[in-house]
């Protein structure tokens, strides 16, 4: 969205919104698109709202930038939007300040702000991290409902696999700024092919599995993005370079490879060994078979948080409906180069 800090960043590749490339577009053009065609919901709704302006003013402002209307019209729009996102008594609460809202309400207000101009793309950056579980569920429901109502494409950036399973149609697993695996939610959860995806799924506590004393985290710590490991960025933490053979994992960056319809994996493992390993892992985690705690390698004293705080995030791309009917979901890829 062009919101990165100016200097020190270098963005290469292509970001296309509705066919228009944003990387090569002028900053002024990108500014015009921001809020109008693409909007964003941020992680922490408390700090992301201006403390000195009323919620209504802030929502109305987003509407007024792109639609040159009077304050009264913008206010009506803000009240309308607050009602749509489920704030009770919107005509009263519109004059409240952010600090008078609860966390969930603030996030609803953020969503209202993002939706004020009916954007075609909505990016939600960990929209539920600052909220407690019940409110999380409400906010996710709201996003899903509004998606069908407004017809926006939604990108949710999250490390919470529960959220992914709940809302995502398509999933893009990213590690160290690169694609690790891409596919439908069903593919990624049932037939994952990348060791990182295995690790993520393996480190999740499961209701249906026998209780183990320790969660099984991914070995090691997330790499520094300034100094990304050579070759496959995941290789220092991966358990399977030996099955690839040679030093391809440390020297060669794996290219995403189609392993099924719309299912891509960026790994040097052959398809058959991927299937084999996943079958073993799935068997090990299967219900009733108590996995002994000591199977966890001794050097992984870290908790599952290691996996959760990994910078490589699971990007779930929900592109079921696009803004204009009859047009497939916009092709949007975010390329970061540290």
């Amino acid at each position: 969205m062009g919101l990165h800090r100016g200097s020190g960043t270098d963005i290469t590749g292509q970001i296309r919104l509705d066919g228009e490339d944003l990387v090569s577009a002028t900053p002024e053009r990108v500014r015009q698109l921001r809020g109008l065609k693409m909007a964003m919901i941020f992680q922490d709704p408390l700090t992301a709202l201006h403390p000195y302006y009323t919620v209504g003013t802030q929502i109305g402002e987003a509407y007024r930038v792109h639609n040159h209307v009077s304050k009264q019209v913008a206010r009506k729009r803000a009240i309308d939007l607050l009602g749509r996102v489920g704030i009770p008594q919107p005509s009263v609460r519109v004059d409240d300040f952010p600090h008078q809202f609860s966390g969930g309400m603030r996030q609803r207000a953020m969503i209202a702000m993002a939706l004020s101009c009916d954007p075609e793309l909505l990016i939600a950056d960990e929209p539920t991290t600052a909220l407690d579980v019940t409110v999380q569920a409400q906010i996710l429901d709201l996003i899903v409902d509004l998606q069908s109502e407004f017809g926006s494409a939604v990108i949710i950036i999250t490390h919470d696999l529960g959220v992914v399973a709940e809302v995502a149609d398509d999933v893009l697993v990213m590690y160290a700024g690169r694609e690790a695996e891409k596919g439908s939610a069903d593919d990624v959860f049932r037939r994952p092919g990348h060791p990182y995806a295995w690790g993520l799924l393996g480190s999740m506590p499961r209701l249906d599995a026998a209780r183990v004393d320790r969660l099984r985290p991914i070995r090691g710590t997330p790499p520094s993005l300034i100094n990304v490991p050579s070759g496959c960025p995941f290789h220092p933490r991966c358990s399977y370079p030996s099955r690839v053979g040679g030093d391809r994992c440390t020297t060669e960056v794996p290219v995403p490879r189609e392993i099924g319809p719309g299912h891509q994996v960026a790994c040097h493992l052959t398809l058959s060994s991927q299937r084999e390993i996943w079958a073993e892992l799935a068997k090990a985690a299967a219900p009733a078979e108590a996995a002994p705690a000591d199977t966890a390698p001794a050097d992984t004293a870290d908790t599952a948080e290691t996996a959760e705080t990994a910078p490589a995030q699971t990007a779930a791309r929900t592109a079921a409906q696009s803004a204009t009917p009859g047009e497939p979901g916009q092709d949007v890829t975010e390329v970061e180069a540290p």
């Binding site: 969205m1 402002e61 609860s102 702000m113």
Partner: protein, 384 residues
């Protein structure tokens, strides 16, 4: 809100009473504790070559033999309602607010101070406009172009501005602009009512000289504040809405960065109106600062007491106004104030957690606020 204003007013009056007690104690209690008796004190009021009868008359007239508490009471009553001085032979009336008669001129202190006040007020207000506009503008620009040549130059200049004393910059300004180039010749006080043009023209140099010191400080403060605010999440949100960069900077960035600056501005202005000593002396302006210096040089007790009380009054009032202004500017403070007016106890929990704001919002201390916050079962309002 009204409860808050009334509370602040009462607080202000209380503070002024405390100031008067301290001032009174310095000039009457401490000399007495040091062994001076009322006769010797009266001798100081009479002036040079006192005769015994004149001293005794003065002692009676000023009621110096009475207990200190009584004298203090007379002092207070004099300020509020005026005093009749009875020397035995004649009665002189000192109209309220009476701060007594000056030693040398034998004139009441209050009218003298009121004559000096417009000078200082003109000086301070004019300079305040200059330094606020200039300082904030420079600060914002340097923050936005952090590390640029402009930033380095202006921050270097700011450092110099803070460090250079007024009697240095002022004298150089006088030398260059007034004597050498004759741009502003013959700088002297002309009342605004007499000749507005000459008033402004003669004040240009003092304004600029005084403003430079403060502008430098404000530029640094604004720069620091802007650098901090422009990194806030809500600035990113403002950009994400697609606002123009100028709107983002002014309406979102500056709005948040200016709040603490406004607080300091009020205090500085209050302090200055009580007397801009250095500037007034440098430019020979007959303001309160000049008045103070002369009073101290002459050990003119009534004048010193009067000017101390007046300066304290301006500072306390500025403090009060800043408090109220803060409530207007920061809605989070407003909320806690409204809550204060609804319930007897002040809920300070929603006041932003900076020492400044806590201090200015009547929350007595961070500790008590913290204790109150901890004891309240639900810090968040139950409206969600």
């Amino acid at each position: 809100m009204i409860t808050f204003i009334i509370r602040r007013l009462i607080m202000t009056i209380f503070l002024l009473v405390v100031v008067s007690i301290i001032t009174f104690a310095i000039f009457f209690l401490i000399p007495r504790l040091a062994g001076q008796n009322s006769y010797e004190l009266a001798a100081q009021y009479v002036g040079r070559n006192p005769t015994r009868s004149a001293i005794l008359q003065m002692e009676a007239k000023l009621n110096l033999t009475a207990p200190l508490v009584v004298q203090y009471w007379h002092f207070l009553v004099g300020i509020v309602a005026g005093t009749h001085y009875n020397s035995g032979t004649s009665i002189t009336y000192c109209a309220p607010p009476c701060f007594g008669y000056s030693f040398r001129s034998q004139q009441p202190v209050w009218p003298q101070m009121m004559a000096a006040l417009p000078v200082t007020a003109s000086l301070a207000l004019g300079a305040a406009v200059l330094w606020l506009v200039g300082g904030v503008a420079i600060g914002v620009l340097s923050a936005l172009r952090r590390g640029s040549i402009f930033d380095r130059l202006s921050m270097g200049a700011a450092l110099a501005g803070v460090s250079l004393p007024i009697f240095f910059t002022g004298l150089i300004a006088l030398e260059l602009f007034s004597y050498k180039w004759q741009l502003f010749p013959n700088v002297q006080w002309v009342p605004l009512t007499t000749n507005p043009l000459l008033w402004a023209r003669n004040l240009v140099l003092p304004w600029i000289t005084l403003a430079i010191t403060y502008a430098a400080l404000y530029a640094r403060l604004t720069r620091a504040g802007m650098l901090e605010t422009m990194n806030e999440d809500f600035i990113r949100t403002a950009r994400a809405k697609g606002l123009r960069e100028r709107t983002v900077v002014v309406r979102h960035g500056l709005r948040a960065a200016l709040t603490p600056i406004l607080t300091i501005f009020g205090m500085d202005l209050g302090l200055l109106i009580g007397g801009a000593v250095l500037t007034e002396v440098t430019f020979s302006l007959p303001g309160l600062g000049q008045f103070t210096i002369l009073a101290i040089q002459n050990q003119d007790f009534p004048e010193i007491m009067g000017v101390v009380m007046l300066a304290a009054f301006f500072i306390v009032v500025a403090n009060m106004l800043v408090d109220m202004l803060y409530a207007v500017v920061d809605p989070r403070v407003r909320l806690s104030l409204w809550r204060c007016s609804r319930s007897a106890t002040c809920a300070c929990s929603s006041v932003p957690t900076t020492a400044w704001s806590r201090r200015w919002t009547g929350c007595r201390s961070t500790w008590s606020a913290a204790a109150r916050w901890a004891s309240s079962a639900s810090p968040a309002p139950a409206r969600a």
